[in-house]
Amino acid sequence: MKNWSKKIPSVLIAAAALILLAVMVKILSAPQPSPAAGPAWVENNVQALQATLAISTNPTEEAFIQSKLDLLKRIQATSAGALQNVPEKPADVCAFRPTALPTPQRTPGVEQFTPELYEDLQGKLNSRWQAEVNGQWVTVLAGTLYTDPPQAALWVVVENTADGGVMPAPQAAGMLQIVSADQARLTLRDEAGTIFYFDVAGRAFVSSPDEIIPTLAPQPTNTPTAEICPP
């Protein structure tokens, strides 16, 4: 009996460990709240607010969250009406794809436009040149790249390839603008009136309109990705 009582602590520890294990299993295997079917698309959002509401201890906050909850519940209630009008789903999902609009006609050459911020290109652009070069469609945009400090720059894009990039012109002052083009040789002007030349085929600034530089080899076109419901 003496030995048994000595073992009590380890029995207790083992039992406690077992209980802890059981609790953990219970917690981890607890089913996640399953989203409601049909129009209750805000159900989970409602749950998120209710769960937070449950742990809030500030009456002002509770009232605030409750007002958001009421908002979502109103949306939920309104949407219930949709169940009366649910259309059948078609067997051929592609039959309903609208006809593609015609591709806009692209005019080769220089186009100048009011300077505009392009958030996706991180710059302000004022002109474009586009044409086919060595069998590939190339677009060049000119303006200012928003680095710190900003830099005059060109954006070169070779359609449907990985070729292209931003070409800063650190020697230029302010915005760069495409003024004219002779084949794939562009004439550019900065805000100070200084003229620059850019060779599209060689992807480089050149010092004169006559300077000859090697033409870069065309890069392979991208592998087309499979599209759902191709036109």
């Binding site: 698309w41 769960a51 908002l71 794809r97």
Partner: protein
């Protein structure tokens, strides 16, 4: 024989009873369960570069196809970021899409009527392609941003605010009309439309020294007009912006800059304080700093404004980084699971901001590249 002490004698029995109670009674959720909730399946949001109807149908169809092929019921939030707000010819309100690499980086102008049409095509694509899956659902945020100045003179804040109010009012009207359309034709059983706006602030235009992004005064106009035209719950919107330069603790004195005075109060207001506002913030940075910035805004709300933010989800840009790369992606390319987890951890690090359940994870990419 030595008698056992009563406590020792009854201890095993007590433990068994406790265990039985725990296993048969109510399930208790400890704080750690917040973190252990499974990361939601992320959706793909898009920077729209070509808003033609067939392109929108394809985007909806892709999500519908995924949901139909995924076991169980899916619940996704996606943002269709159509680009900046734009007034064409002085009186036509709409947006300028992001530039299209398949069309010489040209941008499209889409009016509000066009936007409604495009959102409907997205919904039809989702509806048709989710096929026999009639219980999965998607919340579609029709998105814009607070970048640039509507193609308007930018020297008058009052004028810009009045334009922003026109946009906010129209945006709420568009969302209401879309949901009305969804109800009428039954799409609302799987699709909810909301507004969405990427509210940010940064960078000065070297030409005039003005910031590229709208001031809180102007953005407030958008928010208040949206709120005023939501018919008490007919429309909500998500702010999916970044908290640029924000501190990671509540700070009553902090503002981004004197010339662009965003404060934690202003950010809280447009992200949660306004009645139709909900937040799906950008959690891009690998070191979880952005998550801590947003947790601080939430704590600011809890301490000084009466309510923490209950976040709806987290946005990441892993796929956009995979498409375009760039140096910023060295540190701003959280995976959806990382972004979502960082926000969960940051807000649950304190009772002021705790939130047991973060619903959505969405990852944005370019429509093309």
């Amino acid at each position: 024989m030595k008698k056992l002490k009563p406590l020792v004698r009854t201890a095993p029995l007590v433990l068994v009873v406790i265990a039985a109670l725990l296993l048969q009674g109510q399930t208790y959720y400890f704080p750690m369960i917040f973190k252990n909730r499974p990361v939601p399946l992320y959706s793909t949001s898009y920077y729209i570069q070509n808003g033609n109807p067939d392109r929108m149908y394809v985007l909806g169809c892709e999500l519908g196809t995924r949901d139909a092929a995924t076991p169980g019921t899916q619940d996704s939030l996606i943002i269709l970021d159509f680009g900046k707000m734009w007034v064409l010819n002085g009186n036509q309100y709409g947006i300028r899409t992001f530039s299209d690499p398949n069309n010489g980086y040209a941008r499209q102008f889409l009016s509000f009527a066009d936007l409604m049409d495009r959102a409907q095509w997205f919904a039809k694509g989702y509806w048709n392609c989710s096929a026999n899956d009639k219980s999965s659902r998607v919340t579609v945020g029709i998105g814009t941003n607070s970048f640039d100045f509507f193609n308007q003179p930018k020297d008058s804040q009052i004028h810009l605010r009045s334009i922003a109010m026109d946009f906010g009012r129209n945006w709420a009207g568009m969302v209401k009309n879309l949901n009305q359309w969804g109800l009428q034709y039954g799409y609302a059983s799987q699709i909810l439309f909301t507004g969405a706006i990427d509210i940010e602030w940064a960078g000065k235009d070297p030409d005039d020294g003005l910031y590229y992004w709208q001031s809180p005064y102007v953005v407030d106009g958008w928010v208040e007009a949206f709120d005023g035209n939501d018919d008490n719950g007919g429309a909500i919107y998500f702010n999916y912006g970044a908290c640029v330069g924000c501190p990671v603790v509540p700070d009553l004195d902090w503002q981004y800059h004197n010339d662009l005075p965003w404060s934690q109060y202003g950010i809280w207001k447009v992200s949660w304080g306004a009645q139709p506002a909900f937040a799906v913030p950008e959690i891009y940075r690998n070191d979880s700093y952005l998550a801590r910035q947003w947790a601080a805004v939430s704590k600011y709300g809890s301490l000084y404004l009466g309510s923490r933010i209950v976040f709806t989800g987290a946005m990441t840009q892993m796929q956009a980084c995979q498409q375009r790369g760039g140096t910023e992606c060295n540190t701003l390319d959280n995976t959806p699971a990382e972004g979502w987890g960082q926000l969960v951890d940051a807000i649950n690090a304190e009772t002021f901001t705790a939130q047991p359940f973060l619903q959505y994870s969405t990852d944005i990419k370019w429509q093309f590249k």
